[in-house]
Symmetry: C2
Amino acid sequence: MEDLAVPAPLSGGFTYLVAASQTLGLAVILVLGAWMGVYRGGIAWESSELQFNVHPLCMVVGMVFLQGDALLVYRVFRNESKRSTKILHGLLHALALVIALVGLIAVFEYHKKKSFPNMYSLHSWCGIAAFSFYVLQELNEAVFFGGCGKACCSGACGWGCWTLKSLIAVILQWLLGLVFFLCPGVSFSVRSRYKPHHMFFGVFLFILSLATALLGILELLLFKIRDSYSAFVPEGVLANILGLLLVAFGAVLAYILTRDEWQRPPLAEELALSMDFKTLTEGDSPAASH
Amino acid sequence: MEDLAVPAPLSGGFTYLVAASQTLGLAVILVLGAWMGVYRGGIAWESSELQFNVHPLCMVVGMVFLQGDALLVYRVFRNESKRSTKILHGLLHALALVIALVGLIAVFEYHKKKSFPNMYSLHSWCGIAAFSFYVLQELNEAVFFGGCGKACCSGACGWGCWTLKSLIAVILQWLLGLVFFLCPGVSFSVRSRYKPHHMFFGVFLFILSLATALLGILELLLFKIRDSYSAFVPEGVLANILGLLLVAFGAVLAYILTRDEWQRPPLAEELALSMDFKTLTEGDSPAASH
């Protein structure tokens, strides 16, 4: 049973890297804001020109910064209850989705006002793929992992709990919960087996969003300053630095998320509960299950 | 000692995913070849126009396909000796570096012939960062992991072995080997602690290379067919599909590389050797070391 013991305290590197990731994330937003403010005229929804600038700001805040931070919460708040961490994780993802949706509406409305065609560039293809899969991933998360962490999908906790996710997600969760209730043995094992795939897909979508942001930076530069870009004008250099900051933010975050020793350890009460539930649903004894 | 036991045989999914990754990788090269051949006039070194087309082909074959496959070999050839796998890993990386270098020379020569400026775009900044770090990573690999897997850096295997890496790398390896020989206790623990960082950095560089390839596709399209790109001309659609194939190749490869259960297990003789060596250098008993 030694792998169930509470692991050693986090090394100092973890705290510094989390601080570095947040500094890089804020630097990304500041540099992007400076680019839009100083060189692209600022943002304004009711404008045929400036409405476009809402798009990069919202997409980077939503699909990069908030999505990235949502992935971090399980490791950063490792000593909080699973329920609180789940709520924060869900809230950050929901906020990221809403902000990204505003960014998408901004660019489609701008294209409509200017009679520009939609969805022809590699940036738009990657972006719409990332956004669509992100919506699916969030619905999936609500279905498989929504709830208080007390196996509510199989009805074991009575009424379940409200994780502030969308109404559709909750309905889906309870529909699948009904299936799990009818076949309780499925719930625990399916969720356990599904979790690593869900985590991989989360990191994949975050990286795809980052790559889409890089494509967006280059596309905007080649549309707006194609002739002066090669002369190392300040706008081009600033936007390139923004690209490198995005890469650095992604690298630090991915490093924190992939270090085995910084995984969130199961708390004592979660361990006891999951073992009991496994015994209940799989007819297995806690001692024999290891 | 249960974590030292030989794990269960690979699930069928592994074989299918490796096959899928190779199919996607070959599809990437074919689609890129078709793009260059059909729409960009083919390739020719002694040409002021067609020399450019050597660049995307070499960079994708070297920095994406071969670099990706080099990362896979430890998992695919899991039952071969560590020495053979290391040689294949090193050969693929060395081949990738040489091919990528040809691709870099092609684009710099093309720019010189046409009097185009160098290194101003986000694609070139990300590309040169990826290539430089890749060279450093390979030198580092030769220093820390080069050899037959029998702790040759500390002189335990006599003359060491030739991994077909570059001369500089071998000199560096033996210089550091000398340091390790003087302080043998450092070698085993430093290399064990460094390995996960080396693996993370390898996957990071592969993903950065992929993102650079996406930027390169978009940059070439906006330079060559900017006005017709938005009309969904066949060249634009083909290049966008190439971008999605690159994303799919990266996703499948990253999935295979990050599944814990598909890690290469240490073979019986490696286990015995590493335990003996640890005992020898750290004054630790095999029984107490677990």
